[in-house]
């Protein structure tokens, strides 16, 4: 008991705070939950994104994990990237740069500011009747049901269509109250606009991955015993999806995975 308290005390406490149940006395109720994306921004080996000089470290990038990324795995990536990679690669990049003063009236600044302003203005101008949270919840429902723990070709195709129509509703009936001063609702609307894009890309990715892998179970690909059936021959690659705009097909970039020292093997829980 003392050992459990020492090792997992915070977990048990957290559980009791949420459920009101003391797990030292009653069994803890555990169920799997969807972990939609194991990915993040595409980065090179130096952890630089496609924008020169912009680095994505920790869980924000896609680099270190495969089809499973649960529990405290994000800490591993935060530590590895933060301690060992970024301190070497970022100074390496900076050392090769000429530091010249850049005027904030540069056309790139003006353009970026204008784009951001226009996007925020667009969200505020819709002046519809539905709060942002409704769209967020509707998107969550679609993804949980059709791109969650268990997914199928049929469900994913429907999900893509549903997300597209939800986006149309979002841009025609969103209500963002208040002005452009400190406004959490406006910030939230901007995020949900992004989630609609990421959610659609996740469905595209799930649709192309015709195997069951890690935390993602494709109903069509299972063993006779109902276990996940992986297909390492055809699916040993990472997909990077490039958004091309609402209603357009995204571009699919594949990066082959090469295993030199350790090769993938089947993990059986039996």
């Amino acid at each position: 008991m003392a050992k459990i308290q020492e090792k997992y005390g915070n977990l048990f406490r957290m559980y009791e705070k949420i459920t009101g149940i003391n797990a030292y006395k009653e069994p803890m109720r555990i169920s799997p939950a969807a972990h939609f994306s194991m990915g993040g921004l595409w980065v090179d080996y130096e952890l630089m994104t496609t924008i020169p000089g912009l680095y994505a470290v920790g869980e924000a990038n896609f680099a270190d994990h495969g089809a499973n990324r649960l529990g405290a795995n994000s800490l591993l990536q935060a530590c590895v990237d933060g301690y060992f990679i970024a301190p070497c690669t970022i100074p390496n990049y900076l050392a090769a740069q000429k530091v010249e003063p850049i005027d904030v009236r540069h056309s790139a600044f003006t353009e970026a500011e204008e784009n951001a302003q226009n996007h925020l203005q667009r969200l505020q101008n819709i002046n519809g009747s539905t709060p942002t949270d409704d769209f967020h919840k509707a998107l969550g429902r679609i993804l949980y049901d059709k791109c969650g723990l268990s997914r199928s070709q049929d469900g994913l195709k429907k999900a893509i269509a549903e997300i597209r129509s939800l986006r149309e509703q979002f841009y025609s009936d969103l209500r963002v109250p208040g002005n452009s001063e400190l406004n959490t609702e406006l910030e939230k609307a901007g995020r949900v606009a992004d989630y609609l894009e990421v959610g659609e890309l996740m469905c595209y990715d799930a649709l192309t991955r015709e195997e069951s892998c890690g935390a993602h179970f494709r109903e069509e690909y299972q063993t006779p015993h109902g276990e996940a059936a992986r297909n390492d021959k055809d699916f040993a690659f990472t997909s990077a999806w490039e958004w091309t705009g609402a209603g357009k097909e995204p571009i699919w970039h594949k990066e082959q995975l090469r295993f030199e020292f350790v090769t993938p093997s089947l993990r059986s829980y039996k």
Partner: protein
């Protein structure tokens, strides 16, 4: 259930604030306090009113973003609980609940229940890190750290920086926060190298930000969601005195 709220509304730092009355029906006892505020905001937005601004993020009690005074207590009536982990079942049917921002000179109000806690960031910025270049990953077994030391450092490192210690302190002291950030590094070999300058700089920054001094009332450890012990403050003082004398 039905509850009555008196919520502090203040549009900007400069404007005058006031308590606004809200009556909210159909609250589920299983809702967290923040979900109840979400429900209220949803209704306000539909009525065309400005929703209540409040900070929140993970809602799992580990990010340190949320935090309001509820009936005069930081994070509400339960000890060692974040606002997001407080559930409406804690309140009686028909209760009147006062909701205010964390109040301290060093935490200026941004809007309604949102306060600016960047003073904490600045305390961290002057020394709450290990700046030694790591180079090649060292062999893990070359720096042995005893189990009890590791546990003690972890207990201090558990601080989520929510600011409840400051909000609940009659002196608005940030001693518990600063101590937690100093001690978790002071206990480990990697942190000892810069230990002296760290404690001096961080304590100085804490004073510069306008936090009050610690007068050992120990109120902070009652509200701290991570149950950070005030013994860390004693350790910080010891480290500080040692640094000044050496």
């Amino acid at each position: 259930m039905q509850v009555y709220l008196k919520v502090w509304r203040q549009q900007t730092k400069a404007s005058r604030g006031h308590f606004a009355d809200y009556s909210i029906a159909d609250v589920s006892p299983d809702m967290s306090f923040l979900e109840m505020l979400d429900l209220l905001n949803d209704r306000l937005i539909r009525q065309g009113e400005r929703p209540i601004e409040f900070d929140h993020d993970c809602r799992e009690g580990i990010c340190g973003q949320c935090g309001v005074m509820i009936n005069g207590r930081a994070h509400g009536p339960l000890p060692n609980t974040t606002t997001c982990q407080l559930h409406m079942r804690t309140f009686a049917e028909g209760s009147t609940i006062y909701v205010e921002p964390f109040r301290a000179d060093a935490f200026p109000i941004k809007c309604d229940l949102k306060v600016d806690r960047s003073a904490f960031d600045r305390i961290i910025q002057v020394g709450g890190y290990v700046s030694a270049s790591t180079g090649e990953a060292p062999e893990a077994n070359s720096i042995p750290i005893g189990h009890t030391t590791a546990e003690a450092a972890f207990d201090a490192a558990a601080c989520i920086g929510c600011g409840a210690c400051v909000a609940t302190c009659k002196n608005s002291s940030a001693a518990l926060f600063t101590a937690a950030k100093i001690v978790h590094l002071a206990l480990l070999p990697q942190g000892k190298i810069e230990g002296r300058q760290r404690v001096v700089r961080m304590v100085a920054q804490m004073d510069r930000e306008g936090f009050g001094h610690c007068s050992n009332t120990e109120a902070c450890q009652v509200e701290c969601p991570q149950e950070i012990s005030v013994l860390h403050i004693a350790r910080m003082n010891w480290e500080y005195n040692r640094a000044l004398l050496s």
